[in-house]
Every structure is written in structure tokens, then in C-alpha cells.
Symmetry: C2
Subunit: 290 residues, 2 copies
């Protein structure tokens, strides 16, 4: 058996087509959705991600503005930039690319972004709405993309046992809320580094969301025959056979494809979904605030 | 075997003693913590709860003001009252007693309360902080009380399997976040009405939090020998042998006491904890905003 591919490029393209249609409607009202991306320092992976987001904006007709700040910027400088963007009515979405330089308080910056422009969905107001079971606002992009990808793949969620590996504020915690909320209705277990029997927990699951950031941690014998597995991990693994010296690996071992019913690849699974959902959030923000 | 009692009266009294000490410190700075309770209509249970909260305020030295609005009050009238309390610097905590009259949008009122005065901890900002793993602010009272009661009872949480039955924004969802966050470290499963095998899920748990609102639903054969069981339910069950025609029952069947290692009673378990944590939140709000 080989798992059906949860193809994030194909599903993401569908989302982007929807976004494009929404952009057209906004254009007719004289509005161009506008995303501002703040990037502090020169983390190479961040620049790759931001580049991909800018290209997505071009594809769907969202205007993007990129604000590059040097790595040694003061915290107050970043605050300043965010506040200007908050008060600029031409900007609908604000994203401060993570990670910020060491020592800069990322949560404090997140708290400062106008929740109505928080297209990452990381502001406490937007996360708190998920606790309330409300998913009609700015939902974190990767968790929203995971749900959308499962639905796209025809994976049954209601009444199924889902296990989320990892409890980050970015992925693990919000995706567990989305999976368990009314209308989606999975029974959700959140496991993490302190879970004593993580392989056992995993084996009981119909749906596995791996968001832990450890290369190929989820083994084939952790996965129930036919389970749907979504791999959120993007890890660098040393590989001298590659010119760049590393390869990208997910949190899920490739052999899981022999056991799982559905599996999202890395790359080409959750990555494109995250970007597509960011475009959707930007348009949602533009619709609400104009 | 008979379960150790998770005695909410005793544990709550300890919390109240801490609160009293904090109130003394505030008094020395010329501050008296002040809780405003808004009650709309004449739901008898609500009046009982509000009365209990007022008595707790008296015990710990918190000033309480009660605003009674008639059941047929306009939504705008309630908004008006909340806004006045938001902008009144002498008020540190605001609580709008649930339930509001039928048809009145409770979430909209919750959204309106200044998060810094939201001593119920129900505002999205305060719930969202839990998703971020931050529990240093205004944490919902019942979930916070559940954790405190488990700790007080000497129940090991770290690395244990906890099952939360019920996914409400008031109890189930936030308590699952508190149990699973870093430093508390349970592996948490949230189950609900759509869970297919709730008894099985329950049997695998070292800790069971029953917050579903169905009288005596959790049976003795659902519970693992020695598990800790916290009963959040308060249900009215018809009982003609009582003068008032009903008795109060938890979500947990009394026979669970023969199997569980720890069990919180109803009444006298989570109820007093909720009130004690409300007092703690009121003082925390007064400390932060004065």
C-alpha cells in the first residue's frame, strides 16, 4: 500500500484561485489587498520564506511591501515600524517574519500588531477566538492549511482520533483547537516531549499531525494502517552528497507512506498551504477593514 | 479502596488566605481591590452564584459592587454598563454573570470587557494567552481551580495522560491548554459528544476532568484504578424526596470513588475553587492596574 498524497501544491492552487476571485471583487470596489512583511536581519531561511510569500502575492493580485530591518535593529525600531503599519489604512495585513534576532521579544511584537491586521493569526485575540470555537476570523495559516488539506484529501475527521505531536503556539496548540472544535469534531490528543509513550499514542490515531521539528521522528511502526498523516516539519539534515551540504526532511519518516492512507509530502505539502492561507487571511482582512 | 477527596473547600481556603495577604499589601498602598458583578435577569442559579461570590469578596477584603439589570434589558444597556465599568478606574474586575437572557449575545459582551479587568478570563486575549502557553495573567477561574486542586492533592500531572470531557470555552478548552502547557506537561485528550468511544478514552487516563454537564455520566468502569478524577459538573436531577424537588449531581457517578485514587466532590470540589480563583484574579487585576 502506498499512501495517497495530500498534495499541498494542488490544494493550495485551489485556495489561491478562490483568493484571486475575492481580490477581483475587492478590485471592483477600488481596493487592492495589501500585505506588509517586516523582516529583521538576514536569516537565510526567512528570506526564502518571505520570497515565496511575495511571489504568492503577485500570483493572486495582493500588493506586497517588504520592510527590511538590519539584524542589530533596536526593539523600539521594530515597534515603530509595526505601529506605523497599524495606523496606515492602506495596509490590510502585517506579518513580522519569525525568527526575530536573538533576544528580541517575539511575543511582545505579536501583542502589538493590530489583531484586525494580524494575518499570521498569532495575536492572542485571534488565538483566543479558536478557544471559543470561532474560526471565522484570522486563523493561523499553517493550522488552517492542515485542516483544509485534510478536507481536500477527503479525510474523515468527525469522530476520529487525531493526535497532534508538538504544542507550539504557532502550529500544535491552534491545530488541536481547530481539529476538536464543533463542526470538525475530532477527538484530539496533544502530545509533546514529556509524553511518556508517544509511539503508542500515535498508533491509536486515525489522523496524525506531526509538528515537532525533529527530522523523521514519526516511524512507520508508529502509524496505524490507513491513518492520515500530515507532516508539518521542515528540518535540515546534514547531507554531504548535496552541494549545499544538507537536505530537507519532514517530521515523518518516508517509510510511513507504506502504512498511511494519506500523507502530505515535504516539501509540497503543508508549505504551500501555509502560504495560500496567508493570502486568504490577507484578503479576509482587506474585506473586513475597508 | 476509596478515593482521596480533592477537597475544594480546604484548598480554596488556602487560596483565599493567600489572596487576603495580597489584599493587605494593596491596602497599605491605599488600594482596595474592587469587583463589579453585572447580573441580568433573575435566573435563580445565577443569583446563588453571585451571592457566593459576594460573600467570598467579604471574606478576603475585596470590595464588591453588584449591578442588577432587569431580564428585559436591551443589549445596548448592558454594553453601556460594561463600558462605564471599563472606564471607571476604581473598578479592577468586571464579571458579567452567565447566562444572559435568551437571545443576548454573550460572546459580544465578553469581547467588550477590558481584558485587563476580565477576571472571568473569558476574553479572547486572555484565552489566547493560554494558547501561547502564558498562564501569568487572568486565567479562567474554573480551569485554574482544577489545576490548583490537582496540585494541592499531590496528583502527578507531568507526563501523565489526562482526558478532558467537554470542550466548552469556559472549562474544557482552557483546562486542556493549562494541563498540556510547558511546566505542567500532561498529554491531553479532549473528548466530547462526537467522540466515538468515550469510555475507552477515559479508561486510558491517569487524570479525568469531567466538564460535560451530564449528571453522573462518568461511570466507575470508565475509570482506571487509581486515576484522579475532577468533577466540574453541577447538574440538577429530579428528586421528589427533596423538598425543592431536585438534588445536585456532578458529571461523575458516586461509585467512581471506589476506583479513583483522587476524586473531587460535588458540591465542595471545583465550586469553591472557582470562587477562590476569581478572588485571586481580582487581586491580580488590582495589582496590575493600579
Amino acid at each position: 500500500m502506498s499512501a495517497q498524497v495530500l498534495d499541498g501544491k494542488a490544494c493550495g492552487a485551489e485556495v489561491e484561485a478562490e483568493v484571486k476571485a475575492k481580490v477581483s471583487v475587492l478590485n471592483e470596489r477600488g481596493i487592492t489587498p495589501h500585505l506588509a512583511v517586516v523582516i529583521v536581519g538576514d536569516d537565510p531561511a526567512s528570506h526564502v520564506y518571505v520570497g515565496a510569500k511575495e511571489r504568492a502575492c503577485e500570483r493572486v493580485g495582493v500588493k506586497s511591501t517588504r520592510i527590511d530591518l538590519p539584524a542589530d535593529s533596536d526593539f523600539s525600531k521594530v515597534v515603530d515600524v509595526v505601529e506605523k503599519l497599524n495606523s496606515d489604512p492602506s495596509v490590510h495585513g502585517i506579518l513580522v517574519q519569525s525568527p526575530l534576532p536573538k533576544g528580541m521579544d517575539e511575543l511582545a511584537i505579536t501583542d502589538m500588531i493590530d489583531p484586525a491586521k494580524d494575518v499570521d493569526g498569532f495575536h492572542p485575540v485571534n488565538l483566543g477566538r479558536l478557544v471559543q470555537g470561532r474560526a471565522d476570523g484570522l486563523v493561523p495559516c499553517t493550522p488552517a492549511g492542515v485542516i483544509r488539506l485534510l478536507e481536500w484529501g477527503g479525510v474523515d475527521i468527525s469522530g476520529k482520533n487525531a493526535v497532534v505531536i508538538g504544542r507550539s503556539r504557532i502550529v500544535g496548540a491552534p491545530v488541536s483547537l481547530l481539529l476538536g472544535r464543533k463542526g470538525v469534531d475530532a477527538t484530539v490528543t496533544i502530545s509533546h516531549s514529556r509524553t511518556s509513550d508517544i509511539a503508542d499514542v500515535c498508533r491509536a490515531a486515525d489522523i496524525v499531525i506531526a509538528a515537532v521539528g525533529r527530522a523523521e521522528m514519526v516511524q512507520a511502526d508508529w502509524v496505524k494502517q490507513g491513518a492520515a498523516v500530515v507532516d508539518v516539519g521542515v528540518n535540515r539534515v546534514d547531507d554531504e552528497s548535496r552541494e549545499r551540504g544538507y537536505r530537507l526532511a519532514g517530521d515523518v519518516h518516508p517509510d510511513v507512506a507504506d502504512v498511511a492512507g494519506h500523507l502530505s509530502p515535504v516539501p509540497g505539502g503543508v508549505g504551500p498551504m501555509t502560504i495560500a492561507m496567508l493570502m486568504l487571511n490577507t484578503v479576509t482582512a482587506a474585506e473586513s477593514n475597508s
